[in-house]
């Protein structure tokens, strides 16, 4: 978290802006080149379609987080909300698989329950932040712990989607060449959010709040309402990602969302969204998401073991953010 002082130094603005703008883009190119040269089958259809399909949940959640970061807050509970949604969806299908005439009804009801949970969680977080003035960082940290436990209380072990219901999650594997349907959905969502943040009055308010919340308030913007809506949408998107993950694996896992928290923040930061708020874009986040996805996929492909992956990943994220962070503001206090 950073607090801005008004004295901004103009020097080296050009260079730094360019580094920030092209960092993800060049990282993707370098990674793709390095991996395709060193790894023979990396560019093969199988791996490529896997890569593109697995990117969807991360992209959906990063799309939401970008909005939250843009107005200067953060939501660390996304991964946990995703986990709860994930287990709820599968649990619901298991419990009610025979209760309705068509498996589709159980599946869709399960989806709605999960989404309603995500929406409710987002609204609750928003209210706590906006009305009780609890910093979003600490409020969402509390929610993270809460929902992580709830997910484990629903089920401690992964549950499988019953075979009779497989048809209802098969949509996830539909693909046009290497481009899977889930990614198309995710891209649609992120482009829609891009349009909303750029071109609607409420969306523009997000940037103003992130740039200077006090100004936004005095200028007559509904700061509280805007924040509340964004947190609600964010919860909804986290829940949607949970459903995507269940459909992909045809099973649930109570800790499936935990690993996402860092990846989401990393994708947004790599995409050029300032962690201090006010600057960034949803389109940039698309690049950030692909950077993160390629690193992860690359390490899997090379066969780096899971524990070492986190070491590499953590170091990479720190470096990337250290390079792209905006240090131009004089007297900036970083908390």
């Amino acid at each position: 978290m950073t607090t801005k002082s008004p004295q901004t130094v103009k020097k080296s603005a050009g260079v730094r802006d360019n580094i920030m703008k092209y960092f993800s883009f060049s990282a993707i190119i370098i990674l793709v080149l390095a991996l395709s040269i060193t790894q023979e089958n990396w560019l093969g259809t199988t791996n490529l379609s896997n890569l593109l399909r697995d990117t969807a949940p991360l992209m959906i959640m990063s799309a939401g987080m970008t909005m939250v970061l843009l107005f200067g807050s953060i939501d660390l509970s996304m991964g946990a909300v995703c986990s709860v949604s994930n287990v709820t969806y599968v649990h619901f299908m298991l419990a009610y698989q025979d209760a309705f005439i068509s498996p589709w009804i159980a599946s869709i009801l399960g989806m709605l329950v999960s989404l309603a949970f995500g929406l409710g969680s987002g609204i609750a977080l928003g209210l706590i932040h906006v009305k009780l003035k609890v910093p979003s960082f600490i409020a969402s940290l509390g929610f993270m712990s809460l929902w992580q436990s709830v997910a484990l209380l629903i089920t401690q072990n992964p549950e499988s989607v019953p075979k009779a219901m497989w048809g209802t999650v098969a949509w996830y594997k539909i693909a046009f060449g290497v481009l899977g349907l889930p990614l198309v959905f995710a891209l649609l969502i992120i482009v829609l959010l891009h349009c909303i943040t750029r071109f609607t009055p409420s969306g523009r308010a997000i940037f103003a709040i992130g740039g200077n919340e006090r100004t936004a308030r005095v200028a007559g913007m509904s700061v509280d309402r805007t924040k509340l809506i964004v947190f609600a949408v964010n919860g909804l998107l986290a829940a949607l990602a949970g459903i995507f993950l269940a459909a992909n694996l045809r099973s649930s896992a109570p800790t499936i969302g935990d690993a996402f928290t860092l990846k989401i923040v990393a994708a947004c930061a790599l995409g050029g969204t300032s962690l201090a708020g006010g600057k960034g874009s949803e389109l940039g986040t698309i690049l950030g998401v692909f950077t993160v996805a390629i690193i992860e996929n690359g390490m899997n492909f090379i066969g780096v073991d899971a524990y070492s992956q986190n070491v590499v990943f953590g170091i990479f994220v720190l470096l990337a953010i250290a390079i792209t962070v905006d240090r131009r503001v004089r007297g900036q206090i970083v908390k």
Binding site: T200, F207, G210, N212, T215, R217, A219, M221, S222
Partner: protein
Amino acid sequence: MSELERNESQAAVIETAEPAHHIGTEVLFSAKDITKTFGGTKALKGVELEVHAGEIVGLVGENGAGKSTLLKIIIGAQPQTSGTMMFHGKPYEPKTPMDANKAGVGMVFQEQSLIVTLNVAQNIFFGHEKEFKSGPIINWAKMNKEAADVLAEVDITDILPTKKVSDLNFATRQMVEIAKVINVTKQSGAEHCLILLDEPTSVLNEAEVQNLYKQMRKIADRGHAVIFVSHHLDEILHITDRIYVYKDGSSVGSLDTKDATEAKLYEMMVGHDTTTEYYHLDRQTRPKDDVLLEVKDLGLHGIFKHLNFQLHRGEVLGLCGVVGSGAEEVCEVICGDEKPSFGEMYVRGEKVKFSAPHQALAKGILMIPKERLFEGIVSTLSVEDNIALSNAKQLAKGPFVSAAAVRQQADRWIKDLRIKTSGAKELLMQLSGGNQQKVVFSRALASGADILLLNHPTRGVDVGAKEEIYALIRTMTDEGKAVIVLGDTTDECIGLCSRLIVMKDGLVTGEFEAPADHKPSQLDVVSLMM
């Protein structure tokens, strides 16, 4: 202050001036030709100050005359842009307040600088903890004992050194702060110290003020010097030996307190009236009959109360008052930023209650805030986005705001207000203060609000831009808007407004009609403010 009271305080002056103090002839501190520029504006334009050992010097001037800026330069909290300072006959260039302390200069800041989570002793010896170390451990008992001695030095015996500062009231904190500063300068080992007091009496009660006077005199009698800033002229006349008067960042002159009277000081502070063209008096409109805004018995707990006025279409209403008079909070309450504790507000006859500024904007009320950087602009956004902050909804066609409309609007205002910018896409942080303020005005004008609250509209703006802003205010009233102005100076308030409400300590002390051909004198207004 009534005529009677003023006569009394003059009598008091003569009394205190009678016993001659032993003022050394040695010049302890001097500042020559100090200037200070913030961005493009000059806060200080060549200020002089000379302080002798054993002397209490008062600084007086209106808000923004440069007193606080000068003190901050002397204490090393801000560097001067040019000019030299001498202390003990040697060049004096403090980089930080710590440097100043080491040289023997200490300051009690207007905004309290104690760390409230620490106790009294820890605060008094903050930064000097090493002196109490035995081995790696701090000897708290020793520190507490010495803190008690320091407090006793300024005749405070009823505060325990172990008491947490957050548990003390503001007046007590102020005394602790004074004790701390006196100790810090004493520890510097300088033969004569210099102590700066910026508005120290505003939170003190009568008895505490008397004790403060006693301590100031005691310090001076030991050969140290005190610089004392206050908005209360009676205090200045009561305690100081010599007075410097500042106006608009330059020194008007200095005089011995025994030769000074309140009337004389007012006159010096106010200076000459500015020419009528400057405020575009020929364009001052007569207020229409319809009332846009009415407040009845409005109040904010502990800040101001019993405020009544009607604001008419085409009127410029001025609120005059020094810092702490409550005038600024009146603005904040009306624009919906603060909820009033008492009273009622009516907009066009309809009773309103606001809990956030966006509700006030819906009724056509918008404030141009005082601190431009902190609450007026979004520096990370472009000029066009800043102008569209308050009216994005009006620009929207369907759910989307058309980028072309935003651009068109910005281009129009850039042209109309002659905003100097490389284009509508330029980030606001790249603009100068005056141009940023024009952007804020554009936003307010574009918002469609017809009751505009201008809280220090010309703060930090250079002379040329000031005049353009005055012209803009005239244009607003021509268009039938109503404006409330909190001027940077009394002169500005009188020049701009068709009616003035003067406030002091949260209460209205006077009202003046100010038609273009019959403006009240600054003297009359200022004497009701202080």
